[in-house]
Assembly symmetry: C2
Homo-oligomer: 334 residues x 2
């Protein structure tokens, strides 16, 4: 109880025999004589003085805090994303304020505003995203990473999801699959829309292919259930395109539970290429998304915007890459 005794710049100043404003100038790179600087820094070092971030952001124009909005941290996709974002932020001297699904969007918005974040990185925006629109309304810079929104006046970075869907379709078609299933991501997610549309178009253009779509909501349990149902039906597909890796893992596991052999009886293609996918026990054929790059470009766009708020909104689309592993095989094997 009572406040912890912390050294302040006033005490540093007193001990160094200078004004408090001089300490501030030394720490923030103002013009100070070499001797004064040395004297102050000695005292700073002696106490390992750290200026209060609260005081700084109260008086300054920046808090140095960036909100990072994700969904479920236990979905293997997000740790990779958060880590990449965190790394870039840290290089820029910025701190991260995490908003996840342990709170409601309203609570998240309130927290981010109270904390006075300089900007927000969204990684899982959905159409009509309540949080994203309201941040913008509050005049807080926003960048959409990974998932994007139509007619949303903010910077956006995404993978070339249309190509991802097309590559997946071409691969399965070339293996001779003619009865195909698609495990879709959340309806409001741009990634699901783009990947799904491109995949669908490609099959349609090819002709002579049956496509069955089920909803996996980008969620392991949902996808697991959907695939089990799909596999127990009488018109079982010979191949599955899943809109992300986590749902592909669900498909792999559901197939195992149903006694359906992969890839002999069922081919599975994912999307993202999370590190797990390269494990021998998984070894998932998938489309790699440049996650590190997306995070890096996203944070860079945001940081630029902090300096120039009136820049027109920019959109970056980053290339994907097909990664063939062992969960796909020719349809003829059956």
């Amino acid at each position: 109880m009572g406040r912890r005794r912390t050294v302040t710049s006033v005490q540093i100043a007193r001990e160094a025999g200078v004004a408090q404003s001089t300490v501030s100038r030394v720490l923030n790179g103002g013009s100070v004589s070499e001797e004064t600087r040395r004297r102050v820094l000695d005292v700073v070092a002696k106490y390992d003085f750290q200026p209060s971030q609260a005081a700084r952001s109260l008086v300054g124009t920046r808090s140095g805090l960036i909100g990072v909005v994700i969904r479920d941290l236990t979905n293997p996709f997000y740790p990779v994303m958060v880590k990449a974002v965190e790394r870039v932020l840290h290089q820029q001297g910025l701190r991260l304020s995490l908003v996840t699904d342990v709170m409601t969007p309203e609570e998240g918005l309130a927290l981010l505003r109270r904390e006075g974040v300089d900007g927000v990185v969204f990684t899982s925006a959905v159409q009509d995203d309540p949080l994203a629109h309201r941040m913008l309304k509050h005049d807080i810079p926003v960048v959409l990473c990974h998932r994007t929104l139509e007619d949303f006046p903010a910077d956006q970075v995404e993978a070339d999801n249309a190509t991802a869907g097309r590559l997946a379709a071409d691969h399965l078609l070339s293996l001779g699959h003619r009865h195909v299933g698609m495990v879709c991501g959340s309806a409001g997610a741009s990634t699901a829309q783009q990947r799904g549309a491109a995949f669908r178009d490609r099959l349609r253009a090819h002709g002579d292919v049956t496509l069955t779509e089920v909803d996996g909501d980008y969620d392991y349990a949902t996808a697991y259930g959907a695939v089990r149902t799909l596999l127990s039906g009488d018109r079982r597909p010979t191949a599955l395109f899943c809109h992300n890796d986590i749902m592909a893992y669900a498909a792999l596991n559901a197939a195992a539970a149903a006694g359906v052999r992969v890839p002999d009886e069922l081919s599975v293609v994912g999307c993202d290429d999370v590190p797990l996918s390269a494990w021998e026990r998984i070894d998932l054929t998938t489309v790699r998304q440049p996650l590190e790059r997306i995070a890096q470009v996203g944070v860079e766009l945001l940081v630029q915007r902090l300096d120039e708020p009136d820049l027109p909104p920019r959109r970056e689309v980053l290339p994907v890459e097909f990664v063939e592993r062992s969960t796909t095989a020719p349809a003829s094997r059956i």
Copy 2:
């Protein structure tokens, strides 16, 4: 550029026709007449006013921020831990400030001090942990979750790791394994020490068993390499106890890469029981650690200590549970 125009309590006060201190009282539950309260809350609602956290923590005695120190977020163990901690903190109205391996311990310490965290949750302390000791020296309350330290005057919560090691040993012994390998966690980690010692003791007590130990450093890549080497040697063990699940996955994958069949040629036991372990493609025999409980008890201990800093340090040990799945089998099968 220029500060964003944010509504402040002064403006709320002006519009409600009261003093600024009255707004503060309404928001913090001071004594205010029903009518005044209503008038203020109307204006607060109109602007969706959020009091500045920076100002609050500058003047108040608490920042409401709790540091959470982990290592690598992409190790599947930590997202589960962080999520559990975050959930409990959020229930308590506290915010989390994440420190990971994207920064050095020194940088982490500096950040946590600048931010004025009320306390810190450590999830991966090691003996002589530089950060943990220095936090305490700076008089900041600390709780050690999951991993603990000898002679460290702070609250600590951990699983019953000795029992975990014993259960793993008993299981493998009862299956008839007499040439056993152990993939150890980081030398400085209490979990590795306790699990390792109990496992070792049990084998020694049984007698007639060869134990080969390798270092996996609680790291996927390190464990993978160590197991590959172990499996290519001439005295290949028939069973492996890995000090955590992530290293067990590495063992499973290394075995697959080496063409060693699990469980027929090699039994593998992990420790932790992360959600991944239940996947059909993994289906790992392991010892479950009550992660949610550890997080919850840890945060509770910390929150109590914020109110009563002079409480003697407490230590909680939570029970583990053996989970038999399909990565273990009798040694006689070979």
